[in-house]
């Protein structure tokens, strides 16, 4: 562990030459960084192979410990995990924290973790620190991810005996584009180039497409279309997708996701076992951290056991005279977490609705992710989809990474003589993208669940007479008001020829390519003119950086409505 913590080899934006000049088709590896566990897989020429670490494990805990100034991740030294967790030196759950501002409820929920998560509640990035030699050493989720990715990269390079540059990462559906840039940044810090960021259920869908393709090959069948619902719930996120697959093409019809997961279940249980836990642990002293860690481990263990047993005895000494001795049965567990299960149900219903698919049309229902072992989750899924049983052909913990590895091989241009890589995922946009107009309304230009690549344009116009500038503020999300959505970026169109309000036509075009790069283009046309009045603007989104929680408010304060736009009603 003498090598430097990490090297910033390239930034997300400066990877153009990577795409254009592959000397040989380097097969991208697939990485599934889970909130709690992580694994790596690669197409080995005939099939997907999961890479094992030096301890011969496929699944590795996603955490990094800061100790004696040298950080080390959970790729190899798993044994120290629980011990480090009690000391405050281990940072984990990065995936729940990355790219979020400190007003985010998910960040607030992370304050009970056994390391320091400090918020000022003003829309900046939260302060995260690990306790090293009784000093709170600050870090960032990106840095922690990068350290971890670097270890994964080292492991993969050792196993595959070749340098690794290109990766396909799986990400939660509900990640905003800003969060995606943070993931890309972390990869760049670790010297990795992101070939694709795949929403987790779509990776599963690709694996499903491959399996169906193989079935067809074996049976010499006709290969009719199969529609599957994929439900993926891990420690940090819950995602749903509906895919239609035929002939190795997986077409994503709808996506839905939310930042709920096993972590929420765990926290609910901790709260249930020790109602005053939040207050007790708020001081983040060494003893409190230890108690917090002990409670975490005991609760986690209990939840795992409740998947196979109907009741469990919890007996844990938290120190400081605090003892918990309680019997929890499954009904109690389900009652405590009923809100989470309800949310899961509503996500499934929403996704089916968006996909315009009836439950009778579903060929298979696939359940993956760490939470797939919870009986209640299985029941919810089966009852919503009206099924007696779920799809069996997949390992719930490895499905996503296998799909990512397949995508890595496909996107690297590798072909397989047996047609095993004769695959394609046609992705859809998980969130709508649009701009602010008509006051503080969010006007979607590319709606949710639009097939990618996508390009759409809308025409806007000025709201004031002789308005010579207009502000284009790009948002992503589903809310009607801009505040409910994720800010992606903003730019100003200047030099609009003076004209009465409503006359200049401001054409805003959004373009998403297959690798999910979003560009915003804007141009101004004056009626009667055959040329655009100004050079077009092309802006790659997102442009916002840290502390973006402030930006929208600052823009509003500075400009008010002076640079506003309204939509032009379609002339029919």
């Amino acid at each position: 562990m003498a090598e430097p913590a990490y090297t910033v080899a390239s930034d997300g934006e400066t990877t153009e030459e990577e795409k254009s000049s592959p000397a040989f088709p380097e097969i991208a590896i697939g990485i599934d960084i889970g909130t709690s566990q992580c694994c790596v897989a690669v197409w080995n020429g005939s099939q997907v192979e999961l890479l094992k670490n030096t301890r011969n494990q496929k699944m590795m805990r996603s955490y990094v410990t800061f100790k004696n100034e040298i950080p080390s991740g959970g790729v190899s030294n798993q044994l120290s995990y629980e011990h480090e967790m009690f000391s405050g030196a281990a940072i984990f759950n990065m995936k729940r924290l990355v790219g979020r501002v400190d007003t985010d409820p998910v960040v607030h929920a992370s304050k009970s973790l056994p390391f320091l998560v400090q918020t000022l509640d003003i829309g900046v990035r939260p302060f995260i620190a690990a306790l090293v030699n009784n000093v709170w050493r600050s870090t960032t989720p990106e840095e922690v991810l990068a350290i971890f990715l670097l270890e994964l990269r080292g492991m993969a390079e050792a196993r595959l005996k070749r340098p690794i540059r290109n990766v396909v990462l799986t990400i939660p559906v509900s990640f905003s584009r800003f969060q995606l840039t943070r993931i890309e940044r972390a990869c760049a810090m670790a010297g990795l180039h992101v070939l694709r960021l795949m929403p987790e259920p779509t990776a599963v869908a690709l694996l499903y497409a491959q399996q169906q393709q193989q079935v067809v090959h074996e049976n010499m069948g006709s290969g009719s279309e199969k529609i599957a619902l994929i439900f993926n719930m891990g420690a940090g996120y819950c995602d749903v997708a509906v895919t239609a697959t035929a002939g190795g093409v997986s077409q994503i019809k709808a996506l839905a996701g939310s930042a709920i997961g096993g972590e929420d279940i765990l926290q609910n249980m901790m709260q249930h076992l020790l109602p005053e836990s939040e207050k007790l642990f708020s001081s983040h002293g060494i003893n409190e951290i230890k108690s917090m860690g002990l409670l975490r481990v005991a609760t986690q263990d209990a939840i795992h056991k409740l998947s196979s047993q109907s009741s469990i005895q919890i007996d844990v000494d938290l120190g400081n005279g605090l003892k918990i001795c309680k019997v929890i049965d499954r009904e109690e567990f389900e009652a405590v977490n009923c809100k989470i299960f309800e949310k899961c149900e509503s996500l499934i219903i929403q996704c089916l609705h968006d996909a315009k698919v009836e439950i009778d049309d579903l060929t298979d229902v696939i359940l993956v992710g760490g939470c797939s072992y919870i009986p209640k989750i299985r029941n919810v899924l089966m009852s919503v989809c009206g099924r007696g049983e779920l799809y069996k052909g997949m390992n719930p913990l490895e499905a996503a990474v296998c799909g990512a590895a397949l995508e890595g091989a496909v996107a690297s241009g590798v072909s397989d003589p047996f047609g095993n890589l004769d695959l394609l995922t046609i992705q859809a946009t998980p969130l709508a993208v649009g701009i602010q107009a008509d006051g503080n309304k969010f006007v979607p230009i590319i709606p949710r669940n639009t097939t990618m690549p996508a390009r759409k344009e809308l025409v806007f116009t000025t709201v004031h007479d002789h308005q010579i500038e207009a502000l284009i503020i790009v948002y992503e999300g589903e809310g009607e008001k801009v505040e409910e959505n994720h800010l992606l970026g903003y730019f100003k169109i200047m030099g609009i020829p003076p004209a009465p309000k409503g006359v200049p036509e401001i054409n805003v075009c959004l373009d998403i390519d297959a690798s999910n790069v979003l560009r915003a283009l804007a141009g101004v046309i004056m009626p009667g003119s055959s040329h655009p009045a100004l050079p077009l603007m092309e802006v790659r989104m997102p442009t916002v950086d840290d502390g973006h929680g402030w930006c929208a408010e600052a823009l509003h304060r500075t400009y008010g409505s002076t640079l506003d736009l309204v939509t032009v009603q379609k002339k029919t």
């Binding site: 373009d511 390519d513 046309i525």
Partner: protein, 312 residues
């Protein structure tokens, strides 16, 4: 089928995407696309026109996907997947971007019954709207008040004798490209001159037609690029009997909104065709052809409207 897709792709891609030059300048290895300075296109036109341009350039969705107008959703899906597997950027690289955009748009419309019906109607509707609004400004412009009768030269019969032009030079004009006479200005000369010119035609190819039918007739008589099959075909063609074609077209426009869906179903299931079905099928294939004609229509329209201004 796929081979024939390519020419279409080349033609329609740069036109349909306003910012094309812009996007490809960075990544595209295709210099041909790069040099097209079409990025101002979308800004050149007014909204309504742009809408029409988009329609025109992206059609025909059926051709793009390589399916017939009466194909069922299953066939459309299969065709879409097949093409995606060839052109999706994951497989074809960044160059596949524009084409995939078109595919997605076409598929998105055709796979939804309601949108597809609207789209089917819109192929006709573009012309239908012109029928009404452009009754005075079609290919031939009008001098004086609108009349119920209009002049029309059947280009199939015309031998290019220039007799009519000689008698009524303000009304008729020689179309050098087709070597046929054509009406430039309706009633461009006084009634007597026109009568003489009509009578003087040795092959009687100058007809008095209903003014309402005129735009369709003038549209149909324009030679249109013929669909090629391998090394055969190509070139230009027009309906041999333009009056029959116009009648069929008009009829179809009337039927369309009401019974489009039912008709299509009937067409798909019936083995033996009734005369009405035969006609419907002919109409449908006519419609596909018409779609590709609109380009030419606009070109001529532009040429003529500028000519009118000069004339007046």
């Amino acid at each position: 089928m796929l081979a024939s897709m390519f020419p279409l792709y080349k033609v329609s891609v740069p036109k349909s995407c306003p910012f094309d030059g812009h996007f490809n300048s960075k990544k595209s290895s295709n210099p041909r696309l790069k040099h097209r300075t079409t990025l101002i296109r979308c800004c050149q036109q007014r909204v309504g026109e742009r809408e029409r341009t988009r329609r025109r350039m992206k059609e025909n969705y059926y051709e793009l996907l390589g399916v017939s107008v009466d194909s069922n959703p299953q066939e459309i899906k299969e065709a879409y997947r097949k093409l995606q597997k060839k052109h999706h950027p994951d497989i074809a690289g960044q160059e596949g971007h524009e084409y995939t955009l078109l595919l997605n748009e076409a598929y998105g419309v055709l796979i939804r019954e309601d949108l597809r019906r609207d789209y089917d109607a819109s192929i006709g509707q573009v012309r239908f709207r012109r029928n009404v609004s452009a009754s005075g400004l079609g290919y031939s412009s009008w001098r004086g008040p609108l009349r119920t009768q209009a002049l029309f030269v059947d280009g199939n019969a015309c031998i290019g004798c220039r007799e009519c032009i000689h008698h009524a030079s303000n009304t008729f004009v020689m179309d050098e490209a087709t070597a046929c006479a054509r009406v430039k200005v309706q009633y461009g000369d006084d009634d007597q001159k026109i009568e003489v010119s009509v009578d003087s035609c040795p092959v009687n190819c100058i007809h008095w037609v209903d003014s309402e039918e005129l735009p369709v007739l003038e549209f149909l008589i324009q030679p249109q690029p013929k669909e090629g099959h391998g090394v055969f075909g190509g070139g230009w063609e027009r309906p041999t009997n333009v009056f029959m074609a116009a009648k069929a077209f008009a009829k179809q426009l009337k039927q369309e909104p009401a019974s489009d869906f039912n008709q299509r179903n009937a067409r798909a299931t019936a083995d033996e065709e009734t005369p009405a079905q035969v006609e419907a099928r002919i109409n449908a294939s006519m419609k596909i052809k018409m779609a590709s004609f609109v380009r030419v229509w606009d070109f001529f329209k532009a040429a003529f409207s500028s000519g009118t201004i000069d004339g007046e």
